[in-house]
């Protein structure tokens, strides 16, 4: 017998307190912001009606900057100070950046994450990304004439911990409350509503301007798991433009001589490519050798010249399927992402390969942001159906360095997150009070072959004889795949203090400094802003606590309830009267602590209920 599920009254928040949450696709070439409005996910346009924001930031004199189309337009004139594709540098050292010798930037080779020298000083890729995120945040706030509750930001499925952390740091700098980082292919699948469709395996084929990504997802019971990823970080629509430019030059018996000619023919090729998505032939003009020339091109020529590019994407698809141990006929649907999937030959090749029509009815440039917005809306508690749950796995194993430069794995690749692993360490010298740990990410056995993620120093270990201390270090990976570490000496119970030096990220101090420098919020008073944010957080917490009390107040004793009520009253009073953010934050933390026991009790209760419900069902 099927049992009907009835949602509990009082679960849905007050409709007037609808929280504004957005999804952001922070892309390599362009970025978008979307939100659910009137039940429909849609991308938010700028003043000029454009939804796309080129991911380009130009630094000007006097701390001013141009962002998006304005910056893109000046890129050729001011290449050193106009940063594009900052996403490729996030959480990366200089040596990691492929093809850096062809890029016009003045890279600063420093330990940790690379930085770029501009006329406005050294800029971290995190700061550049934060400019883009802040621009999208202001766009959303202007659209709704209200503050944002939070955002879901998408990252490639293969991003490691340092790259994810860098993305989250950028959001923090931009003043965004990150509800969750989600994988781009997962967001695309959500946009197509696959999460409430049939269970099975889906492929997400993402061909952008400069990169190709393929992801294989498994969906069962509304849970997405990324089971394999692959692709080519140097293959995209730009390569199709170049191939078409060659065809055009060859057809006209011309050879390139200057960079200007090269740029002109590639621009012409791009527009020809776009026309050929709908037409069989076209004629485009380009000024070459100082005179305007016409080029006739046919779709057939274009397709013949780019067949090997399309074949390369399919080779990567085959490899991802092999990694997932799947046959192509086991794939139930193929989602197309990225503007380059508009090309008919790409759609046809993918359709032929999988033996089914790919999904193309959503705008391939927007689909990732649209899915992120749906998830953001659910996380903010606006979606009363709210049945969407994203379970993720960690994309790369986490380990620590042991004797001889070997890696001891702590969290294995594809393990479900969040997760926590404890490991015991001891001292090797009498009276030793500190211990150093090196955390790496990757699948190889040698530290040198993995990516360094962070170095932790434990301090404040009570002095003891060598080998007597028993320090339990707990590595916690949260639902976003981000690592945190805590440590305790087991005998004395002393908490060891931890200093983290992220290998390719920003330390907390650096993030604090960047916030101080108040880029992007230059005109705003940071202290006033902090107070406003602390008040918003306080309101949010009071609201959540009240609705928890309404739903499950009966679980509390009179005294416990009174303590929580008192903490609420204190927080409300402080939020109204206090002049400093720190006071409000302290009162919020006091309420959080007062409700710790209640939260645990509620969780027990709901787990019990889940199990009880199941037992009845299975009778």
């Amino acid at each position: 017998m099927a049992l009907l599920q009835i949602s509990e009254p009082g679960q849905a928040p007050d409709p007037h307190a609808r929280r504004i949450a957005v999804g952001i696709d922070l892309g390599t070439t362009h970025s978008l912001v979307a939100a659910v409005r009137h039940g429909v996910s849609e991308c938010l346009p700028d003043d000029a009606g454009r939804v796309i924001l080129p991911s380009v930031v130009r630094y000007l004199e006097g701390g001013r900057r141009q962002i998006g189309f304005d910056a893109l337009a000046q890129r050729a004139l001011d290449p050193e100070n106009t940063i594009a594709s900052a996403k490729r540098f996030m959480g990366r050292g200089l040596a990691d950046i492929a093809g850096r010798e062809n890029l016009p930037y003045r890279f600063i080779d420093q330990p940790g994450m690379v930085a770029l020298q501009t006329r406005d000083g050294a800029k971290s890729p995190v700061e550049v990304s934060a400019e883009i995120l802040a621009t999208l945040r202001y766009r959303a706030e202007d659209t709704f004439a209200d503050d944002l509750y939070g955002a879901v930001i998408t990252v490639p499925a293969y991003f490691d911990g340092a790259q994810r952390q860098a993305t989250k740091d950028a959001a923090q700098l931009a003043g965004l409350n990150v509800l969750r980082l989600i994988n781009e292919p997962t967001a695309a699948a959500i946009a197509y509503g696959l999460d409430n469709g049939s269970e099975g395996v889906y492929a997400v084929y993402d061909l952008g301007g400069g990169t190709f990504d393929i992801s294989i997802l498994r969906l069962s019971r509304g849970v997405f798991e990324v089971i394999a990823t692959g692709g080519d970080s140097a293959l995209g629509g730009d390569d199709y433009d170049r191939a078409l430019a060659q065809v055009m030059l060859h057809g006209a018996n011309l050879a390139l001589t200057t960079p200007e000619d090269k740029a002109a023919i590639e621009v012409a090729a791009r527009s020809a490519k776009e026309v050929l998505s709908a037409a069989e032939t076209t004629t485009v003009q380009a000024v070459m050798f100082g005179q305007e020339r016409n080029f006739n091109v046919t779709r057939a020529d274009f397709e013949a010249a780019t067949a090997d590019l399309t074949a390369r994407t399919l080779a990567a698809v085959r490899k991802a399927l092999r990694d997932a141990r799947l046959q192509k006929d086991e794939v139930q649907g193929v989602v197309m992402v990225g503007g380059s999937t508009r090309m008919p030959q790409v759609q046809r090749a993918v359709g032929d390969f999988f033996g089914r029509e790919p999904l193309t009815n959503l705008n391939p440039d927007e689909v990732v942001a649209l899915g992120a917005a749906i998830q953001a809306n659910a996380l903010a508690g606006n979606d009363s159906a709210g049945d969407l749950l994203l379970l993720d796995v960690i994309p790369l194993s986490l380990g620590i360095e042991t004797m001889g430069g070997l890696v001891e794995r702590i969290v294995h690749r594809n393990e479900t997150i969040p997760t926590a692993k404890a490991q015991d360490f001891t001292t090797y010298r009498d009276g030793q009070t500190a211990l150093a740990l090196h955390v790496v990410q990757g699948e190889r056995d040698l530290v040198a072959d993995c990516r360094s993620l962070a170095r932790f120093e434990l301090r404040g270990i009570p002095p003891m004889a060598a080998g007597a201390a028993r320090i339990r270090v707990t590595f916690t990976v949260d639902a976003d795949g981000l690592l945190s570490v805590s440590a305790q000496e087991q005998g004395s119970g002393v908490e060891a203090r931890i200093d983290v030096k992220p290998s390719y990220g920003l330390s907390d101090d650096e993030v604090a400094r960047m916030l101080q420098e108040s880029f992007s919020t230059a005109q705003q008073d940071m202290t006033a802003r902090a107070l406003v944010e602390a008040r918003v957080d306080a309101d949010r917490l009071v609201l959540a606590t009240r609705s928890a009390l309404t739903a499950d107040g009966h679980l509390l004793s009179g005294a416990d309830r009174a303590a929580i009520e008192a903490a609420i009253a204190h927080l409300e009073h402080t939020a109204r009267e206090a002049a400093e953010a720190a006071q409000v934050e302290a009162a919020s933390e006091a309420l959080a602590q007062a409700t710790e026991g209640f939260a645990a009790e509620r969780m027990n209760h709901s787990i019990q209920k889940a199990l009880a419900g199941r037992k009845v069902e299975s009778l």
Binding site: E589, A599, I607
Partner: protein, 172 residues
Amino acid sequence: MKLSDSDFALFAVPEQFRQDRTQIDARWKELQREAHPDRFAAQGAAAQRVAMQWSVRVNEAYQRLKDPLKRAAYLCEMRGAPIEAENNTAMPAAFLMQQMQWREALEEAEGEGDLQSLDDALQVARRELLADIEVKLDQAGDAPGASGQVRALMFIERFAHDVASRFEQLGQ
């Protein structure tokens, strides 16, 4: 329900070696639906912390229950016969002989065919050991005996890993 309850109690499945993988998967998702921090994204720090603890605990139990080797080791420990692989490396002579033969076969293996037949032999040995572990744990009440077989299985898994790396080398 407490964080310290056994994996089996948490997943409401019988405390035995034999398990239905689809049932474990389904239960995992049911529990995460209740406990995942995303469910509490709008509910303040205390609720988030509790959710994180529970979600971590559910994942820990899931990793152990779904993997036959880890599940067997967990049951042996619950029943007073911990594996202690680091301190307990004594294995029957016949098993060690078999190991040496396999190692030699791996060293002498030329090409995919040799590796494949070695891999097939490992699969058979693994299945036999798992069947024996199930009998010892679920019927004979012989946790110490099962513990010895789990150690043997750990040897095999390690060796299977070496065989897999050779396969990869060939593939390149």
